[in-house]
Amino acid sequence: MGKISDAIYEVHYMDTIASKDSPVHRVHPLAKLIVTVAYIWFTVSFSKFNVTGLITMVVYPVALFSVSGVSFGHSIKKLRIILPLVILMGIFNPIFDREPRFMLYGLTVTDGMVSGLTLIIKGMLTVLGAYLLISTTRIESICYALNILHVPEILVTQILLTYRYITVLLSEANHIFEAYSLRAPFQKGIAHKVWGSLIGQLIFRSIDRATALYDSMVLRGYNGNFRHSQLPGARLKDFSYVFIWGAVFSVLRFTSLTTLIGSLFV
């Protein structure tokens, strides 16, 4: 089943690229998390008619893609998931909001066209921001950052365990579905008669696996407290990373940089 194999590949691929080494990969995970949240926050806070201001926010992904060496091509795949929904929402803006905003070479550009475009740009930038975080930071490091932020231990443990077992259970699901497909070769999806037993078998396997996992954790000294890997503390360059990007985002958000640059030439 293509969908499951794709998901398994995706998890392994993201793990691999997050483990690479680059100046961005070496930044403290908490610093990257703070900068990513700030970037998304600033990006969505732009007014729906401020296209020129919003475009300046492209500075962050461009800088990070070039310094980290992460493939831009792969990030396009991520955009494929979320963009259709965003485009679907944005496409109605020109229909419902026809207030003229300005003329461009004889063509009337309406408020709806501008706000629709802003929505699509915001959608792309926010997905790229999140993608750059996960492609330069391992999930264990993100969990470590969440720990520092005092996110409850049990929740962080859930994220780690779920992540670790995704590929295992995806493989199980793949085996079950392949076996089913071999017996029902020309059927699209799983017939309703076996919905319960098929998923039920996957649940039983999952619970048996969880029991085995618990036993092995107990044998290794598990007493209810999960120990996370410790990372080096934040250094000056990590603080600088947050400070510099914070300053850049503030300048881009609160000054009209594009107008300023344009006025130099006009």
């Binding site: 089943m1 499951i4 991520k78």
Partner: protein, 330 residues
């Protein structure tokens, strides 16, 4: 139903983060109260299970199309509502980070829309009352279908509210809701049928895996009212802010016939009663007078609360009547 960051304003995103964080903090407290070390790996692995099961396509009989399931109600039935909620948070966070399915800012909304309603509303308001006097195959099927449909309807409605309140799309509230609700009715039905099929299979083969607490004969009206109250505040409070200021159906009909929104009174009893209403109405025309937004919102909450209260009152009266009737026949 995963929302993207671009569909939200920072204010709405932040507010929904706060609401989801409060529900998460309460769940953490409840899970810690009856902490069982064995449950931790089970929660983690079940999270991965839901992830894997979401990848499977299920043929919908008679339509030729296929669907998949979300898993919130199933997790609540197996792990209990609080552990299920935390597990769903882990799933949604991983989906958001790893597969770009839902945004980081929108995570609070996605947790609320997909995890809160399924794990708390679906469990406490539908699943648990159904299982009150013991489980049966029929009860499981009914609870799963009704619970899934209502949870998904509330989730889809919240997506409409959150997007409209963010002021991102020009799509009118009514049109957006009319597009979202019917499609999620179909999705909810499929989700309910799959969940029911799985739970019935577990009930017949390994019933000890189902959360025993649900079938204990103690029905907490307090918990039910709290969940309903939270839903009322979120839906009623937020909805009324985006409610249409156009006349309602009756006002529209009167307007077409007479040219005015309301019929002119002819004095006498009508005027006397209108005078009493003016003096007693807490929020005339759904407002505080000066602050229309706050008034409308407050009116929404009060109105929804009163309707919910009336429903509870009617069900209590009905329950007493039924008990008396039963005692009479015995």
């Amino acid at each position: 139903m995963h929302m993207a960051d671009a569909l939200l304003s920072p204010a709405v995103g932040g507010a929904m983060y706060a609401a989801s964080a409060a529900a998460a903090a309460y769940s953490v407290k409840k899970v810690k109260e009856d902490f069982n070390a064995r449950k931790v790996p089970v929660m983690g692995v079940m999270g991965a299970f839901v992830f894997a099961a979401q990848m499977l396509n299920f043929t919908i009989p008679g339509t030729g199309s296929s669907g998949h399931f979300c898993g919130g109600m199933l997790l609540a039935a197996l792990l209990g509502p609080y552990a299920a909620f935390l597990t769903m948070i882990a799933i949604l966070l991983i989906q958001c980070l790893l597969f770009a399915d839902g945004g980081i800012l929108a995570l609070g909304c996605n947790i609320w829309n997909m995890a809160f309603y399924a794990c708390f509303f679906g469990y406490f308001c539908i699943y648990k009352p159904f299982m009150k006097n013991g489980m049966s195959k029929g009860k499981l099927v009914a609870a799963c279908i009704i619970g899934s449909i209502l949870s998904l309807q509330l989730g889809a409605f919240s997506v409409v509210l959150e997007t409209t309140a963010s002021g991102i799309t020009e799509l009118p509230f009514g049109v957006f809701a009319a597009a979202m609700q019917p499609i999620h009715l179909a999705i909810g039905t499929v989700e309910g049928l799959i969940t029911a099929a799985v739970l019935v299979f577990i009930y017949q083969t390994r019933p000890e895996l189902l959360n025993a607490e649900a079938s204990e004969n103690k029905f907490s009206l307090k918990k039910l009212l709290i969940i309903l109250g939270v839903v009322v505040i979120i839906i009623g409070g937020a909805l009324s802010l985006v409610a249409s200021s156009n006349p309602d159906g009756l006002e529209w009909s009167i307007g077409n016939v007479t040219g005015a929104d309301e019929l002119e009174s002819d004095g006498g009893v009508h005027d006397a009663l209108a005078n009493v209403q003016d003096k007693t109405a807490v929020l005339p025309d759904y407002s505080f007078g000066n602050d229309n937004a706050a008034g409308t919102s407050f009116s929404g909450i009060v109105g929804s609360g009163l309707v919910a209260g009336l429903c509870v009152l009617l069900s209590v009266i009905f329950g007493v009547y039924k008990k008396k009737k039963k005692a009479k026949t015995e």
